[in-house]
């Protein structure tokens, strides 16, 4: 072998298209709805499966040490957890088709216990796979254009975005083409596979931020400049975890063609200068703080000077190509007045449907359509869990009502983005018996919750039982609606997978001399007015948590003015009234 065989030829036309994959430029069955692999994507994913199969075989025969196998399996989404390995499957920016969801149902049944979990990175997790079978699972995933690449490990993770991308009325531009461009660039990036720590990117294309871009290593916001040209605002150094931080703007406006070279410059600064001596200080937010925003910005700009206008500069054709996958389905031209009247009479006749319509459907940019959120937060079930039967039903309903497309959300629910208003009642009737129509989206019991101490070996405390206790205590929908929108987020440890810092009410599991306690914070927000929660005071026992939450909610109800939301009241009165009421009761 010589250098020519190591270094690949410029145009590798050598890989014959696999049967069933599509040539360049054709989108196939899910036309216009989502990215579809061509032979290049398929080759990369197939070769990754073969590579991991070989790595697993070498590990099982003792040819790779535990220490060396660790980063290899993590970069394929495989954790070794408390009870079994956990496999995290990538759902790029939360977008799936019905074929993929059916495959996930099959996999959860064939290789696991018949259910899966939606994570706060819009991914899907299996809690009980066998290590020996993981290569087979990855092969099954590759057959439907899915993978588990870089869903954990110290590398660039799955890029996330607004679950209402492409259909939200407040959208400036569709973020998904940029997410796909970032997905391809970050997949198996040779320079950035062994970063100081994990690295998360989120993109927002709307006025309201539904992607929590202020709390990501890099947040990208689609904005226009003074001449109304579309570009990207670049935020760096946001994050949750032990040291929560709001991202700093390092560039107000970047032309989209420079997206990848600019990202590369940021990553290069981070890869070389991020701390590696202490994993709790290794995230980019610590580097940005240590250097100061102006110095960090200057380091990025300097690095960028050598990359700018290089081959990684996007072409307009490349952006248009990415866009062509997210055109929009073939919408019917509908009369919004007819649709409104139809829904109104349905709601009058059936108040339970009316509740669901109010809380679980959102305005759509097309007249006569709604966005539907399927709640995975039914009382008695772990938040974000979904059974194989439910996945199959959702796939079927997606085919019948929503062009075969499903989205996962970072609030751990599923979305059917394009449902005709005239079919909502019918859809709701099918969701109800399957436990997918809990009318609580955006309310207290639609909580974000990590797997916690029941599954995760990092956790200090359990989180699911706390979520369940709160869900059962506040099961009355009338009461939830009276409380109005409240985001309650629970993490089992300070790694903050449950995003407790940005919940209006945050709960963090802590370990106190071997006992599980819970710390409460108030006033976090993940919107464009992002803020981090403030700690209420000393932590509480698990059994006291429903009472504590009750006291906090009663305090809010007694203080709120007119239509004020929980967050608005909190911002007006501050933490003290809550503190006084909660600790007056001798917890």
């Amino acid at each position: 072998m010589n250098i020519q065989t190591i270094c690949r030829p410029l145009f590798s036309g050598k890989v014959a298209p696999r049967e069933g994959t599509l040539p360049w430029g054709r989108h196939g069955e899910y036309d216009g709805l989502m990215y579809v692999y061509d032979q290049y994507d398929q080759t990369i994913v197939d070769e990754r499966v073969a590579q991991f199969r070989d790595q697993t075989a070498r590990f099982l025969t003792g040819q790779i040490s535990d220490e060396a196998f660790l980063p290899l399996r993590l970069q394929n989404g495989l954790y070794v957890q408390r009870l079994a390995p956990m496999l995290r499957i990538a759902v790029p920016y939360g977008l799936m088709n019905s074929t993929q969801l059916r495959k996930l149902a099959d996999i959860s049944r064939d290789y696991d216990k018949g259910y899966a979990h939606i994570s706060t990175r819009q991914n899907v997790q299996l809690n009980w796979p066998q290590l020996e079978e993981v290569p087979d699972i990855l092969e099954e995933l590759a057959s439907v254009q899915m993978h588990a690449i870089q869903t954990s490990g110290n590398c660039i993770r799955n890029t996330t975005t607004d679950q209402f991308a492409g259909v939200a009325p407040d959208e400036l531009d569709d973020p998904r083409p940029y997410c796909e461009i970032i997905r391809q660039w970050s997949t198996l990036h040779p320079e950035f596979a062994f970063l100081p720590r994990k690295f998360k990117i989120a993109v927002c294309g709307s006025r309201q931020d539904r992607a929590a871009i202020h709390n990501h290593d890099i947040g990208l916001d689609l904005v226009t400049d003074a001449e109304n040209n579309l570009g990207l605002k670049v935020l760096v150094g946001g994050g949750l975890g032990r040291t929560p931080a709001i991202g700093a703007v390092i560039r107000e406006w970047l032309h989209p063609t420079h997206l990848l070279t600019y990202l590369e410059a940021i990553l290069r600064v981070y890869n070389q200068h991020g701390r590696r001596d202490n994993k709790y200080k290794a995230r980019i937010k610590i580097l940005v703080k240590a250097m100061g925003v102006p110095a960090f910005r200057e380091a990025v700009e300097q690095e960028w000077r050598s990359l700018k206008n290089g081959p990684t500069t996007l072409t307009q054709q490349a952006i248009d190509h990415a866009r062509s996958f997210f055109r929009a389905p073939d919408y019917a031209i509908l009369d919004s007045e007819d649709a409104r009247q139809d829904i109104q009479s349905r709601c009058m006749a059936d108040p339970i449907f009316a509740q669901w319509f109010q809380s679980n459907t959102q305005a759509h940019r097309m007249p006569g359509y709604r966005i539907v959120t399927l709640s995975l937060k039914a009382t008695g079930y772990a938040p974000g869990d979904i059974t194989a039967e439910q996945m199959e039903l959702v796939a079927e309903l997606a085919d019948r009502y929503a062009y075969g497309e499903i989205r996962s959300t970072h609030q751990q629910n599923l979305v059917l983005a394009d449902v005709r208003m005239s079919l909502l009642y019918e859809l709701w009737q099918e969701l109800q018996p399957a436990g997918l129509a809990t009318a609580n989206i955006g309310f207290l019991t639609d909580m974000i919750c990590c797997p916690g101490g029941d599954y995760c070996s990092l956790a200090n405390a359990k989180s699911i039982p706390v979520a369940e206790a709160i869900q059962s205590r506040f099961d009355s929908l009338d009461y939830l609606y009276d409380l109005g929108p409240i985001e309650l987020n629970i993490s089992g440890c300070m790694n903050a997978c449950g995003h407790h810092h940005i919940g209006h009410i945050g709960i963090l599991g802590v370990d106190k001399k071997g006992q599980e306690f819970y710390q409460v914070s108030l006033g976090g927000s993940q919107s464009k007015d992002a803020s981090l929660g403030k700690i209420l005071g000393p932590s509480f026992k698990q059994e006291d948590m429903p009472d504590i939450i009750d006291t906090i909610l009663c305090t809010y109800l007694s203080l709120r003015k007119a239509e004020e939301s929980f967050l608005e009241t909190y911002r007006r009165v501050g933490i003290n009234p809550f503190k006084e009421r909660v600790y007056a009761q001798n917890y």
Binding site: L10, W185, E191
Partner: protein, 159 residues
């Protein structure tokens, strides 16, 4: 002499290895950065960079240097990937060698960052390690081994 992989073949390493404590180095011997900085004549020189030693001081002498060794004390410290890529992007054409505790599963990434020689701490089965050079036949990104990113090559293929 220890075996290394150079340009895809297993071969003997013919250089004098690094001696960090030596006051003076032999011609062609691998130097620490401090030793190398003191060399009056850098023609034909060989220098080893550790994590935390970016290649900036080398950039003025890229045509004189014959060998740059980038040391990976642990497999998870990825700074060397950026150092290698930067050297190649700035026009370094000599041997770029990774040494230390990386593993065969990292070889494709290293090749893509411009490394053409590998001195593995565990060199018991270099024949098997060579197989890992063929893990991937296709890539998304532009890198040292592939100057055009896939989006540009797709565009060319479609036109």
């Amino acid at each position: 002499m220890p075996k290394i992989i150079r340009r895809g073949v297993i071969t003997a390493d013919n250089r004098h290895g690094i001696d960090a404590d030596a006051e003076t180095t032999l011609p062609g011997q691998v130097c620490t950065l401090a030793q190398w900085l003191k060399l009056a004549d850098k023609c034909g020189s060989a220098v080893q960079l550790e994590p935390g030693q970016p290649p900036a001081p080398l950039l003025e002498h890229l045509e004189d240097i014959e060998l740059v060794v980038i040391h990976f004390p642990v497999l998870t410290d990825g700074r060397g990937f950026s150092y290698g890529r930067e050297l190649r992007e700035r026009g370094y054409l000599g041997e770029l060698r990774a040494s230390g505790h990386f593993i065969r599963d990292q070889l494709t990434y290293l090749v893509r960052c411009g490394f053409d020689a590998f001195q593995m701490a565990d060199n018991t089965d270099l024949e098997a390690a060579l197989l890992s050079l063929n893990d991937f036949s296709e890539h998304y990104q532009a890198a040292v081994d592939e100057p055009l990113p896939l989006f540009r090559r797709r565009q060319i293929a479609a036109s």
